[in-house]
Structure formats: C-alpha cells, structure tokens
Amino acid sequence: MNKILIVAEHQDGKLNPATARCVSCALKIGGEIEVLVLAAAPDAIARAAAALDGVTRVRSAANPANAHALAAVLAPQVIAAAADFTHVLAPSTTFGKDLMPRVAALLGVAQVSDLMQVEDAHRFVRPIYAGNALITVQAPGDQIVVATVRTASWPEAKAGAAHAPIENLALDVALPAHTRFVALQSGKSDRPDLQSASRVVSGGRALGSAENFQIIYALADKLGAAVGASRAAVDAGYVPSDMQVGQTGKIIAPALYVAIGISGAIQHLTGIKDAGTIVAINKDAEAPIFEVADFGLVGDLFKLVPELQQALG
C-alpha cells in the first residue's frame, strides 16, 4: 500500500493551489494521501489541505523557523515526517524545485522532476529538452520516491465538505541557522495569479517598452486574466521576472492563452502547451507561435489589441 506525503506550498497563510494539483497526481499513484504543512502558523493552511478530496490526513508542524520557506530548514523536517512513506511529492514550482532535491539527496535517492503522467507507482513520464521529448522513468521499487509534480499536467483536487483529520506534529530535528530570509519583493496585484488563472494574456518583445505593455494589462483586465510575458520581454525590462512563461519560467495551463507580439521560441511554447485554447497576434505570419495557435491573427498589435479590447465590450 502506497503512503504518499505531499509537502504543502503556502504563502501569506494560504494554501497554494499547486498543492491541490499534487493531490490529483497522488490519487493517480493511489494509496493513502497525507499533506505535510510546515509553517509558523499552520492552522488555516492545514484546514484548507484537510478539505481537499482524496486527502486522508494532514500533518501540521508549527515552528517560527518555518515562517519563510527555506529549503535547508524545511528539508530535515520533511525527512523526519516522511519516515514511513513510499512517496514524497511537492509541486514543481520554485518552492518545490528548491526543496525536493535537498530532501532526495539527504535520503540518498534520485528525484523525479516535473512528473507529468503516472504509469504505475514507480514509473512516471516527465519532459526533457524543454518538452521536446517525454521520457518514461523507472524509479527503484525498494526506495522512497521523491518527485516534483508538473502542476500544469494535473487538475486541482476539489475542496469538499468532508475534512480529513489534522494531526499536530512535533518534529524534533536540529535546524540550521546558516540560511536567513532577508526580504521578498513581490509585485502584488489584484489580477489573478499567473499559475492558476483560467485566462492569461502575455506580451513579448514586440511591445517595445514597459509603457506599451499597458495595452496588455488593459486587455487582461477586460478578460479578467492574469498577465504573463516571454523571456525577451522580461530580459528587456518591460515586466518583472515572476511573469516569465516558459521552460525556465512558469509552466501554465489556462483555458485561454493569448500571446501578443510573442514569436514562439520552443522555450516559450513548452510553458503553454497545456493551455486549452491559444490565440496568437503577431505581425509576422511566419512566426512559430502560429504553429501551435488555435486562432491566429496577423497584424499590428498596437492596432489589433485595443480593437480586441473594444470588441469584448
């Protein structure tokens, strides 16, 4: 019988939806599914995790040292909590990517990155070469499986009326003091979160400046969409780095993705291939983005985007 431990990701006292996507992946593996909440004040996060369909138990460890997600501080706690588990999962977000290899190495096992599909409890499909190949990997059957879950490949588990029991854990492990949180500079906005939004509007280099990016924001607001960007737009300084979509940025799966002035490098396309419908607006009819777009429109974005915003009434 598999026993799967999911390390909860949370921010500002709220459970990140990426955790609910890990629950869907764990359901596919099958077995008991427990969620580990490591936080300074875990109660509300633990309650949110306990409400997710499929979760059998939540283990909650309160510790002021967990106020910020420092991999070096969290890893020994994950290992202490994971003692009798067959699988440990976390989302393949910057949180999980930072933490899980540290956990795996301390356990002396390999890590499966970006788990897309489950073949069986030890056989998984994951992308390599920016998603240009998918490999099936077999993890040793006699070892704990440590994996990050490619969130765009899995739906969010729903929150139901039933609540799994919450158990408070006292993890008696020595925590290092060699890593200290200093600050988080967050581009807080009222727009939907890029990673979980059902609609995303992204802009690329063709926008030409940070000021011109306003037309992207305006269209996004009309659609109730999150805003993303290509690497070129981030490198050029039009928008902050947390908006980058692609191989080395965020991998997303919105129902609607609107790519504006984005040529469609393979590194960008790998971040959007799970989108439901892709719309591309670009002046270059030969741009690779049109190879993957469900609806393509060739023309001047500075004319077409305001027109589109208007047409959406």
Partner: protein
C-alpha cells in the same frame, strides 16, 4: 577565495531535438553541442567575483566522456584558471553529479560553488541543491543577484512570488538564473591563452563514486502535437470564434 563552477556540455539550445522512431533515445549524431547556458552564467559570475577581488581562483568542472576537453578549453578561454575533467563514459544523473562535486569540494575546499539552476538537456534542476544537502551547507537557488561579504553572501532569487533575498553563510552553493549576468564573448587571444591552462583528468571511479543509474529511462516519446489551428482575418472573426467556444 576559490570558486568551483559546474560547467556541463549540452545539446545547443537552438537544436530542435528529435526522438528516435523506436523510442530508444533522441537523435544525437551530428547535433551541435554547447556549454549549458546557465553554467556559462555561473562561470561569468565567478569571473566577475574574481575581477572584483572577491575570488582568487575559478575552477571549472565537467563530468563526461574523453571528448569534453574542447568544451573545457572553451571555459578556460572565457577566463577560468583551470579545469577538472571527471572522466566517465556513462551518462551521469544529478545525484551522481552532486556526489562527484562533493568529492571535489572536499579536495579543493572552495568558498563558493556556482552551478546553473538546470541543464537544458534533462531539465532536472537538482544538482546544486543536492550538493548543498550532501555538503550540509546553504543553498541559494535561481540567483539573479549575488553580493559577497565577509563570510556571507546576499543572494536575490527569482521565485514565483517575486524576488526573494536570502543571506547565507559561506561556503555555500549558488545556482544561477537567466538574468544574473550576460556571459562575455570569447576573444581569439583568450583561446590561445587557454591552451596552456591546466586540465586535470580524474576517473570517476577513482573518486569513489559509482555512476549507477538511479532512474532508468525505459522509453522516449515525442510530445503530443497540438493540432494546427486556423488563421482568422480580423478581430471580429476572432471574437466570434472565442464566443463560439464559450471562452469569452
């Protein structure tokens, strides 16, 4: 302070990789190879720290087959003082790479290890974190800014929520993100100079690390193709198409 830099060779980022029809691997014959872009950023950062007087020596490390020498010469031409080639004919997974780097860390005693956050071939994003764990030292991953002080580093990280700044005691492991710096171009005289720089060759087995496969890859497949869509003539047609699909 000495800085150790992971410097992996990968399939060039412009190559569109093809899966072999029998699913046994990807086509690698005749494919252009280049330094992993994130590792070039790691090397550039180390060189800048040396130029600032923070570091005294920059050592690059690559693990792989005998023909890695030309690749390492590239890193030496960029400015590394010397190179270590850990020789093995086996493909090396991140846990093995981290164990190898730990052995080299014990031998070289660097004040800082900088590696790319991921290699663009296997996209694992693991080696730096694994090394930090085995070494029992801090990690600062996905770095976009690095400031070295006395016995400490202040590192700004690109995280999903924005830019996070950490302070870590040295020695530590830093993994690089795209915007940490822009690697320099190699000039012809540097290529000549690199020819006389030392490359130490160590057999992987001599380090007491086995290259045993931790994860076995049993099958390769091309990704499912998205069906080619339609081109619409104007905004009105686009809006109509989206309305038709219930998307707006």
């Amino acid at each position: 302070m000495k800085i150790l830099v992971g410097y992996k060779r990968v399939v060039d980022y412009n190559v569109r990789i093809q899966v072999k029809p029998d699913g046994s691997g990807v086509v690698s014959e005749g494919v252009k190879l280049s330094p992993n872009p994130f590792d070039e950023i790691a090397l550039e950062e180390a060189l800048r720290l040396r130029e600032q007087g923070v570091a005294s020596e920059v050592v690059i490390v690559a693990i792989g087959a005998a023909d890695l020498q030309a690749h390492l010469r590239n890193g030496l031409a960029m400015g590394a003082n010397r190179a270590i080639h850990v020789s093995t004919s086996d493909a090396v997974q991140p846990l093995t790479a981290a164990r190898v780097l730990l052995k080299l860390v014990e031998k070289e005693r660097p004040g800082l290890v900088i590696v790319g956050k991921q290699a663009i071939d296997d996209d694992s994003n693991q080696t730096g974190q694994m090394l930090a764990a085995l070494w029992d030292r801090p990690q600062a991953t996905f770095a976009s800014k690095v400031e070295i002080g006395a016995d400490k580093a202040r590192v700004t990280r690109e995280v999903d929520a924005g830019l996070e700044t950490l302070e870590v005691d040295l020695p530590a492991v830093i993994t690089t993100d795209l915007r940490l710096n822009e690697p320099r171009f190699i000039k012809l005289p540097d290529i000549m100079k690199a020819k006389s720089k030392p490359i130490e060759v160590l057999e992987l087995a001599s380090l007491g690390v086995s290259s045993g496969d931790h994860l076995k890859t049993t099958h390769y497949a091309p990704p499912p193709k998205r069906g080619k869509g339609v081109m619409v003539k104007n905004v009105a047609d686009l809006v109509a198409a989206l309305k038709n699909k219930g998307l707006v």
